[in-house]
């Protein structure tokens, strides 16, 4: 029984299309793992299987050794696996503080009833939640934004709010779905710094990303998917050297330039 988030031989198909074919991926605490592949290669599907949003037909999903495949997604969140969405799903009318508070929901212990009747325990917990939300925001240098409506923030900031919301849940594993899409270079740098900081705190990060320079910068390991199968698994440097991956993933243009660089 190892401390890791693992997916073993996960398969799923949609109407005859094999979206995942015995795909596996593993994230350990403190590591950043990249998940790359072309559009439609099954990245998001694998992501959704791991987080419980899809139920894999076969295969196992283990959180620290416990099989959670097929469990309800909100239970998997409570087991310490938080995720973000490719397109941020936020209510643009709420403030950053409220969004982070929402992320704290899995840590709530008091019952609905005690909240309804305003019992002392529930109110104490509410104060504690407020305090923790501030702590999370402080950690991510977001305090100045705390009471700003999310709709008024830049895309990069919104994605950072999503990350803050995910880590507020005290997650051990953080799954980020293309967090850098649509971000400016400066915003990408902030994001990269935060991700490294999270890994430094012992959080395992699974990163779905198109931007290979970010992968190279951040990831300890990379899993390459193609047509639902794991094509390659290794360090970013090994990925770059693998001709097959280059062919499939980085495309012909990149292939020529990379080979040119090697020669």
């Amino acid at each position: 029984m190892s401390a890791a988030l693992q997916a073993f031989d996960v398969s799923i198909s949609f109407g005859g299309v094999q979206a995942l074919d015995r795909a596996s991926v593993e994230v350990t605490p403190g590591r950043v793992v990249g998940l790359i592949g072309r559009n439609g290669s099954g990245k998001s599907t694998l992501f959704n299987c791991v987080t419980g949003f899809l139920k894999p037909a076969t295969g196992r999903v283990l959180i620290d050794g416990r099989d959670v495949a097929g469990e309800a997604p909100h239970r998997i969140v409570r087991a310490g696996v938080a995720r973000t969405f490719q397109t941020p799903r936020v209510d643009l009318k709420t403030t950053v503080r409220q969004a982070v508070l929402c992320g704290l929901f899995p840590t709530v212990k008091r019952s609905l009833m005690s909240a309804l009747f305003g019992l002392a325990g529930a109110r104490a917990e509410e104060r504690e939640l407020q305090r923790r939300a501030e702590a999370v925001m402080r950690e991510l240098d977001m305090m100045p934004l705390a009471d700003i409506e999310i709709g008024k923030l830049s895309m990069g900031r919104v994605r950072m709010v999503e990350v803050a919301r995910a880590i507020a849940a005290n997650a051990t594993y953080l799954l980020l779905d293309e967090p850098a899409a649509g971000l400016s270079r400066a915003e990408q740098e902030v994001l990269a710094r935060e991700i490294r900081k999270l890994a430094g705190r012992g959080i395992g990060v699974l990163l779905v990303e198109h931007n290979f320079s970010l992968i190279r910068l951040l990831c300890d390991r990379v899993t390459v998917l193609d047509a639902g199968r794991v094509l390659f698994e290794g360090t970013p440097a090994e990925v770059e050297c693998d001709a097959q991956v280059l062919q499939v993933y980085l495309g012909a243009a990149a292939e020529t330039s990379a080979i040119g660089g090697e020669a």
Binding site: V77, R83, K93, T94, L101, F105, L112, A115, G118
Partner: protein
């Protein structure tokens, strides 16, 4: 318990006190005040389910009817005291809503609205035809008044006391993680799941709570009128309270109360009671067209403009005004 963090409850207490004081001398006003209070309670329950959880329930009037029937039957058939019967008036609608919620809450808003409407109609038909239990078309008469609250003046205080308690519970809920979870569900269910919210159980619990609130309204109603028939509280009531909640501002805790006060009071001024539907329907359409967040939303927006006095930074969405109840 009612500190700085319960502004809506404070306002409600003041409103209730004013209503009780103003109407105490005039029997006609008292009657209007009592019925308005009861409708407010049912309307609050509609506001809670639509405004906070996004479930457009068109069965709140019918939940109230179930509560009323439960209490009427318990007191006239089994000789229970009205206080003991209150337990049934709260529990029966809640149970019913809980079981129904399991079937409808996964649906989209439009489908939920239709399903609850269908359900309300079914319950109504059963009430009209189940002669042995509900008295059929004739109904149940001779329901005893509530001991100690026989006088309208005192009963009025009881009614508004119930409304205040409902607002307090409602505000407690919205000032907690559970209330925030409800709002996430309304906005985006997938997001709520990713935040670790068990959507279906929470929505069911919420709908059960709102049905109990409506049931309390039905309990008050039946022990005030002392008579219950299928026409007393029906789908028309469900629709009316929903209209009132939306007109007042369903997103706001006090929106339904304000909407009920306004529509019900102004409705009494109409030359003919037949025009009531025209007035309600017209008010709803106007509100939907000019103030999408209801009267309170409009007022809040205007207040925020006044308070800020910033040189014209027109907000793209007028609804960007933060609702008081979702404030941390």
């Amino acid at each position: 318990m009612i500190g700085k963090r319960r502004p809506n409850t404070l306002v409600m207490l003041a409103l209730a006190a004013a209503s009780c004081a103003v109407t105490s001398s005039n029997p006609v006003w008292l009657d209007i005040s009592i019925l308005t209070g009861i409708l407010s309670l049912i309307s609050l329950s509609a506001g809670l389910s639509y405004g906070q959880a996004g479930i457009l329930s068109m069965a709140q009037g019918v939940f109230a009817a179930i509560g009323a029937y439960a209490s009427a039957i318990a007191t006239t058939r089994f000789g229970l005291s009205p206080f003991a019967a209150l337990v049934f008036a709260l529990a029966l609608p809640a149970l019913m809503a809980w079981s129904v919620a399991r079937a409808v809450t996964w649906m989209a808003p439009l489908a939920t609205a239709l399903a609850t409407l269908a359900l309300g109609t079914l319950v109504e038909i059963v009430a009209r035809n189940w002669d042995d239990v509900t008295g059929g078309y004739i109904g149940i008469s001779g329901v005893p008044p509530i001991p100690g609250f026989e006088k309208p003046v005192v009963f009025n205080i009881l009614v508004w006391g119930f409304v205040c308690v409902a607002v307090l519970l409602y505000e407690n809920l919205m000032d907690s993680a559970w209330g925030r979870a409800l709002n996430i569900i309304r906005h985006d269910r997938t997001r709520a799941i990713a935040d670790g919210v068990a959507v279906a159980p929470l929505l069911s619990a919420m709908l059960a709570f709102s049905a109990a609130m409506a049931g309390a309204g039905g309990w008050l109603y039946v022990h005030y009128i002392t008579y219950m028939s299928p026409q007393s509280l029906d789908t028309q009531t469900s629709i009316s309270v929903l209209l009132m909640a939306v007109v007042g501002g369903a997103d706001f805790i006090l929106g339904p109360v304000i909407g009920t006060l306004l529509l019900n009071m102004l409705g009494k001024l109409l030359p003919a009671q037949e025009a009531q539907g025209l007035f309600y329907g017209g008010a709803l359409i106007v509100i939907l067209l000019v103030a999408r967040d209801g009267l309170l939303g409009r007022i809040g927006y205007l207040l925020s403009l006044l308070r800020r006095k910033e040189p014209a930074e027109p907000k793209p969405v007028p609804s960007a005004v933060t609702a008081p109840e979702v404030a941390p």
